[in-house]
Symmetry: C2
Subunit: 331 residues, 2 copies
DNA sequence: CTGAAAGCGCTTACAG
DNA sequence: CTGAAAGCGCTTACAG
């Protein structure tokens, strides 16, 4: 059995009230008393039971995190960023993954909202069509939505510069001289994918080019769908000379596929991705891509949530999220 | 304020005891009473406060996870595996990352052991030299150590087949005709790195080849150190014709570096990695490597921990951890 | 089958 | 400066 406040009180002939106050550095406790209590606490290796304290104070010092997947490069890096700022502020992180399922998302929200956490960070599942459970969460506690956001609920939002980045990436292809630029799009239902597509379309228009719906193929962020998509594009327009892909995984797969078809990258078809993930430096040619900031997104999301939980803490500076192009071999 | 057992009791003119029992499906409660209670609980969207329940029952239904890093491909995949089995058994996952620091590891163990979790899963930091805090944890609750294990403490261990896999990988190079095989080793202090090195050495000896200490270079799992390591090896032995790398990241970097030096892979130098991580399929030539099973390792570790927490649950079958070679272009 | 009571480990208004 | 008491939301032995 771990040491409790009671053990210390008994050993010292004091009340638990006094021990509790001493341990919490209450100003009205005699310094000597504090010292004795702390010394003994140290020696008995006393650790406060946060669950018990939380029961009284309605604070758990835990925040819940719900993501579609833990193991992709993007999300694992976001999580790492969140964990670091949460921990620095004395909060623990409870992690759940939905596997893109609305049911799982609902289940986890229910479990976490029931007194386990002080706030919630969510990246919405692809499968989520009904937003009632998210609305319920926002009524119960502070909620921040990141990356996979929705305007359907009233929560704090943290996003990457998807539109701007895609605009820059596409513009780079245009400046390079590409005339027939396709877009390998993400999942149509996701705002983040829509924003990237909008950035692509706007860049074309801004340079007096027409948007051809048939040059936009939904790959669902799924690299398996890339070979088919590329063939479709080439059938529609054999003059295809540029591709802006909604993420690096799809872009890299496109490079591999074009090479298989004996098309030269970037000479015949130039490619730009989104993410700057590790594979972008490994593929040959290396991938020109828009830099993503998963760690900063995580840190900002965590800071915003914690500032909403403890309005006292406000003096952090938001980390800057850019959308800079990293020029490499593929475009 | 969320609904409590008290609200339900009051609304129904029953005692909290009865409500609690009904909600926990206690056999001695009248079916009709159960129904009324459950119906109301449902309607009020009642969710039990697990922290409060845990205070009484000494169960938190949380397990703690301490890893050196959340965002590497290996660990993020392990975590995903852990999360899935924990969740399936009704447990939540608390995640901490040590950034390879012994101090952080100690801090997190202290925080988690203090009544927050029912058990602990740890992958030990590179920086950990003193194991007292791990020993302390094992005295307080069930602990499983995975991947980064140590024999210094009495815990449940879950490891990959590092020795066998490395033996197979090295043997493949030998069978291919390589005569001067180097090893790009992991961090010397880690058992997992030592086991991979031992597998390499044993394979050489088993085929009547000598182990040359100077053909083993410690890269510390760090791809930044690879270019230097390769140059060192070539200086020592210009006939270098094979490399077994302790992980894929290092192996891929070795391929890139050799290409830079105008050495042909696999014709002049053949390379085998360990891990089968995504980059191994993207690099050119694609990487021959030993398949790792991070998800299964996570699942097994979680199952073992939960079986140790609830000895009742025993009928799960351990997932099979193999060490098969995946032959691709680099060897 | 149901209830009153005690208690898990803590905090905190109230009193002295 | 310190303590007695109540209470956070739950469970459970004891009684009836």
């Amino acid at each position: 059995m771990p040491t409790t406040i009671k053990d210390i009180a008994k050993a010292l002939g004091l009340s638990t009230s006094t021990v509790s106050r001493a341990l919490n550095d209450h100003p009205q406790i005699n310094d000597e008393t504090k010292n004795t209590i702390r010394t003994l606490a140290e020696r008995l290796n006393y650790k406060p039971n946060q669950a018990a304290a939380g029961l009284r104070t309605h604070k758990t010092y835990c925040i819940g995190l719900i993501v579609p997947s833990i193991s992709t490069h993007f999300f694992s890096t976001v999580i790492s960023g969140i964990q670091q700022v949460a921990s620095a502020r004395g909060y623990q992180l409870l992690i759940c993954q939905t596997k893109e399922s609305e049911d799982e998302e609902k289940k986890y929200i229910d479990a976490l909202v029931s007194g386990r956490v002080d706030g919630l960070m969510i990246s919405v599942s692809r499968g989520t069509k009904n937003f009632d459970h998210l609305r319920y969460a926002t009524e119960e506690m502070p909620v921040v939505l990141f990356d996979r956001v929705t305007e359907e609920v009233d929560a704090i939002l943290v996003e990457a510069k998807d539109y701007e980045g895609s605009h820059k990436g596409t513009t780079h292809l245009i400046k390079r001289g590409c005339k027939n630029i396709a877009h390998l799009a993400g999942s149509k239902g996701l705002v983040v994918a829509q924003n990237r597509q909008k950035g692509y379309e706007a860049a074309l228009k801004d340079h007096g080019m027409k948007v051809d719906e048939r040059m936009i193929v939904d790959c669902d962020w799924d690299k398996e769908k890339v070979p088919e998509a590329i063939k479709l594009l080439l059938r529609h327009n054999p003059n295809l000379d540029g591709i802006f892909a909604a993420n690096d995984e799809v872009a890299v797969q496109a490079i591999l596929e074009l090479k298989k078809l004996k098309l030269k990258v970037p000479e015949q078809v130039a490619i730009v991705g989104f993410g700057n993930y590790p594979i972008s430096e490994i593929v040959e040619p290396t991938l020109t891509t828009v830099k993503h900031h998963p760690r900063r997104i995580g840190a900002n999301a965590a800071h915003k949530l914690l500032s909403s939980i403890d309005p006292g803490y406000t003096n952090w500076k938001e980390e800057y999220i850019t959308s800079d192009l990293i020029k490499r071999g593929s475009a």
